[in-house]
Structures are given as C-alpha cells and as structure tokens.
C-alpha cells in the first residue's frame, strides 16, 4: 500500500509551519504503511553553505568528533548537527563533495541520506509519529517537502529501504507502487556511472530522474520520461531544490489527491491527509490524471 504526501508552499508566511503541516499529513496516513517512514524538508537557501544528511547505527561513536575530523581533512569549517541516528553536516558548497568522500572513507558504516544546498532527509524504521518525534520534524521550517510511510513489498524493511530516496543534489522522490523493470533500468544507469545503495525499485526511479536532469531535462521533462521508460505501478512525488512534481502511471491504480490554494499545493495518497490544511474547504481539490505530469517551481 504505502502512503505519500507532499507540500509546496507558495505563501512565505507558512514556511515556519512546513514541518508541522507535513508531519500531520504523514501521520494521518499511518495505517497505509507501518514499516518505516521518512520526510525530506527543503529549507530556505543560505547561499554560502551546503549540507549532507547522514545516518549511523552507532551515532555516539560515529558523530562524536566528526566536525573536527572533517574540518581538518577538508580544510574548511564544518558543523555537525546530530538528531538521533541522523546528523546534518554543513560546510561550504565547494567542499561538499570532498566532505562526502571523507565521511565515507573515515566511517564506512555511515550512510548518506542525501545532500544539497537546502534538503535534509530523515528516515527510519517505525511509524510516522515515532519518526517525526525522533527527528523533531514538526519544528522544521522550509519551502517544500515530501514524505512517505511504507508497507514494504519490493525489498527489506530497513532504514536504507525507507523513502525518500535521494540520488542527486537536492533531489528526492517518494513512491507508492512497485516497478517491474527496475533491474534493467538499474543496469543501464550503472553503465552511465550512477551508483546505488540498495536493491530497491524506488531508488531506481529516483536515479532515473537524476540522470535525466543531469542530461539537461527539466523536472517536467524528466517526469514525462518515466511514463515510457519505467514499467509498473507508480505514483511519484518528487522534490528538487526549487520544484515539486507529481506523476502517476497510465493505469493509475495507486490513489492520489491534490489540493491547491493561493497558499500551497498539497498532495496526499488520500483526502484524509489534506483535511487539516488551512483553507482546505475552499481549496481546489482534484485527483491527478493518469499519465499526466504536474509540477510547480519557485
């Protein structure tokens, strides 16, 4: 089954509430998937820093002196903000790739959740409420975000098998459905030089979009490509640094509802996820059409 949500704010005055709004939306869909949950939040760009969200099964050990270790290795200021099993590593944008490589070299067991100028990604095994509490997602501010609660079908119930999947800077994706040609597409993407962390079908969809966008396509064009190149059932909700997109496969058996007002665009697997949003009673509410790309950019 799985439940997915997305929220793209048009009204800046709602930005301080992004984390609490998205958390509430995701928790309302808990019974669509009890295995694991995750959220990606796009914060406001600062212009002079980039960040990497990392995860460790042994955070006390791996994160204790990470800021000093990294700063010394890359020769740039580094901050590490630990939140439970995750940490957000911040440094200057020109040093971000080096920081990532250094983390992987110094701590091979630490997993990279995602990286970019603005995105932070938190995901763990457990119910949405527990995951949201663990990472204090409700207090987070931002411009847009996506979330997922998982009922696993295609691969194991692990932190790395949880959504969102991020395969490019500030790009991430959540998925309700299952892909049937993911092994073929993965092989083709590996040949292009993409790397994969899991055997999961959704990671392939995320990497496919990253690859398309790396070849110069915009978010809408990349999403359009999923309709011919990915086989299976899918409703995708996608975030980029300044964009938010939705696409459903032509059969469209995975549910989807959208709402739009002057203040926001919201997505939920079900209407239940949208009922507490401000102004929902007068919002434009519709079911996104099959095989049709929807996207918004700031």
């Amino acid at each position: 089954m799985c439940g997915i949500v997305g929220l793209f704010l048009k009204d800046k005055s709602l930005e301080p509430q992004l984390g609490s709004m998205l958390s509430q939306m995701l928790i309302s869909l808990s019974d669509r998937g009890p295995d694991s949950a995750g959220i990606a939040i796009y914060g406001a760009p600062t212009g002079n820093e980039a960040k990497i969200t990392i995860q460790s099964a042994r955070p006390e050990q791996d994160f204790r002196n990470l800021d000093a270790e990294l700063a010394k290795a890359i020769g740039a200021p580094v901050t590490v903000n630990v939140k439970s099993t995750h940490a957000v590593v911040r440094t200057t944008p020109d040093k971000i790739d080096e920081a990532r490589e250094t983390i992987q070299a110094l701590h091979p067991d630490v997993r990279i959740m995602g990286a970019g100028d603005v995105v932070e990604i938190y995901k763990e095994v457990g119910l949405p409420e527990a995951v949201v509490d663990r990472f204090d997602v409700r207090s987070m501010t931002g411009t847009h975000g996506i979330g997922h609660t998982r009922m696993a079908t295609e691969s194991a119930v692990t932190t790395m098998g949880a959504h969102p999947f991020s395969t490019g800077a500030d790009q991430c994706l959540v998925h309700n459905g299952s892909l049937s040609n993911h092994n073929n597409v993965r092989r083709e993407l590996i040949r292009e030089g993409m790397t994969f962390e899991t055997e999961n079908d959704t990671e392939v969809a995320a990497a496919y979009l990253s690859s398309q966008m790396a070849h110069g396509k915009n978010l809408g064009e990349a999403l359009e490509g999923t309709l011919s190149d990915l086989d299976g059932f899918f409703t995708f909700v996608v975030g980029t640094k300044n964009g938010f997109g939705v696409v459903r496969d032509p059969i469209a058996c995975k549910p989807a509802v959208m709402a739009e007002t002057d203040q926001y665009v919201a997505f939920g697997s079900e209407y239940r996820a949208l009922t507490k949003l401000p102004g929902i009673d007068s919002a434009k509410v519709w079911e996104p059409e099959p095989a049709t790309v929807y996207f918004w950019e700031h």
Binding site: A252, P255, E270, Y271, R272, T275, V285, W286, P290
Partner: protein, 247 residues
C-alpha cells in the same frame, strides 16, 4: 396541542432535523456509527441519520440494510456506502475509491467527485455522481444503475455484466472493455472503446429507459436523444476455434 402540518414541516426540514440522529465523527469512532446503523431493527422510527466531520474516513455507512436516509456532511474516503441495501445516502462532498461498491439496492448520491471504481460490482440501486467519476467507474457492475453528471475515467464498465451506466460528460479510454450485457449511455466524447465494446443503435425502448434514469437521478435540461448507446458486440462470449493459436 395544536395540529402540526406535517408535510409543510417536512418541506422546511423541521421534523427531519429534529428526528435525525447525528454522529459527529470528530467525537465518536466510526465503528459506533456503523454498529448503530447495523443494529437498526426493521421498521425503526429512526429513519433520518446525519454524519458530521467524516474528513475522508473509510467505510462510512457500509452494509446498511434498512430504508433510512443518511446525510454525510463532508468528504469521505474508501468504500462509503459499500453493500448498501435499501438506504438513501447523500455525500455532501467528494468520495474516495469504491463508493457504493457492491450496492444491492437503495441509492447513493455524491454531490462532489468520486475517485476510482465507483459502484464496482454493484448489483442494484442507483448511484449518482454529481461531479466527475475517476477510472474504472462501474467495473464489473452487475445490475446497478450509475448516473454521472460529469466525466468518467479510463477502463470504466470493464467486464460490466448488467445494469446501466449514464454519463452526461465524456468517457475516458477503453470504455466497456470485455463488456457483457450492461448498457452504456454517453452524451459526450468517448476516448476509445475497449475490446468487444461497440456503439449501438438507440431504439425507442432505450430512449425510454434512459429518460427514466435521468428522471430518477434528478437530471433536468438534458434529453435522452443527446446520448449515444454502447454495449457488447458479443464476440468474446464463446470460445472461437479461429483464435486457438492465440492461447
């Protein structure tokens, strides 16, 4: 005690609202509502029910088997009114997937839109969608009548066996794929017809049937003659030896 003009009071909604039993789903769990509905004895005086704050809840008023009216004030999630047998349900909002699934008799009216597979497998009664219905509307319908004021999505009336599907707007792709004996009436465009579904002549008995359905659904200002009829070409009914190589 002064005499009361009952019919006038009913018209004004006075008696109706006084006598109706309201369940506020913001306060009361859904199971209490459905258990109360299921435990109604035949001939009960509690004939008017109201459901407040459904907020997308699943399975609102499923399995009701008494001739009561139920007004649902807001939008519902999956399977609202499923298996309905005799009640008249009105959803004053939109409905999620499977509204009126396997309805036996009675009626369901959705004032807004309906998500996928509205009226699926329905055996009787009348389902009216005043907005649009999504994909697979009337899939495997077995006697239900469905009237959609707006459009319907793809794969509607797939394997539809009997009953009538009336669409005032357009139909999506693969309408009536592998259809048996259900009748489909579409006023607007059809994206494409599914396997073994063909346009058919609208004969006087069909015009009469359709006009009756429009009247029952409260549709005014639309003539039966504006519709086209679609149904089965009946070429998939029996095994055809010429197709043996395909199996």
């Amino acid at each position: 005690m002064p005499a009361i003009n009952v019919s006038k009071a009913l018209d004004q909604g006075h008696i109706q609202s006084q006598a109706s039993r309201a369940f506020d789903l913001a306060e009361v769990p859904l199971r209490e509502l459905n258990q109360a509905l299921h435990s109604l004895p035949p001939g009960s005086n509690e004939t008017a029910w109201e459901v407040l704050n459904p907020k997308g809840s699943h399975s609102v008023a499923v399995g009701v088997d008494q001739p009561i009216t139920i007004d649902v004030r807001g939008s519902v999630g999956y399977y609202c009114g499923g298996m309905n047998d005799g009640s008249a349900i009105t959803v004053h909002g939109s409905a999620g997937p499977g509204v009126g699934e396997n309805m036996m008799s009675g009626s369901i009216t959705v004032k807004g839109d309906a998500s996928q597979y509205a009226g699926a497998t329905g055996r009787g009664g009348l389902l009216v969608i005043e907005g649009n219905a999504s994909s697979r509307c009337g899939i495997s319908m077995k006697g239900i009548d469905i009237v959609v004021h707006g459009n319907i999505g793809h794969m509607s009336a797939f394997m539809a066996q009997s009953g009538n599907l009336v669409v005032l707007g357009d139909a999506g792709d693969a309408l009536g794929d592998s259809i048996y004996e259900a009748r489909l009436f579409v006023r607007g465009k059809v994206g494409s017809l599914g396997a073994d579904c063909i346009a058919k002549e609208m004969r006087p008995e069909h015009l009469e049937l359709l006009q009756g359905l429009l009247d029952r659904a409260g549709v005014t200002g639309v003539k039966a003659a504006e519709f086209k009829r679609y149904g089965s070409a009946r070429t998939l009914y029996n095994f055809n030896i010429d197709n043996a190589d395909a199996y």
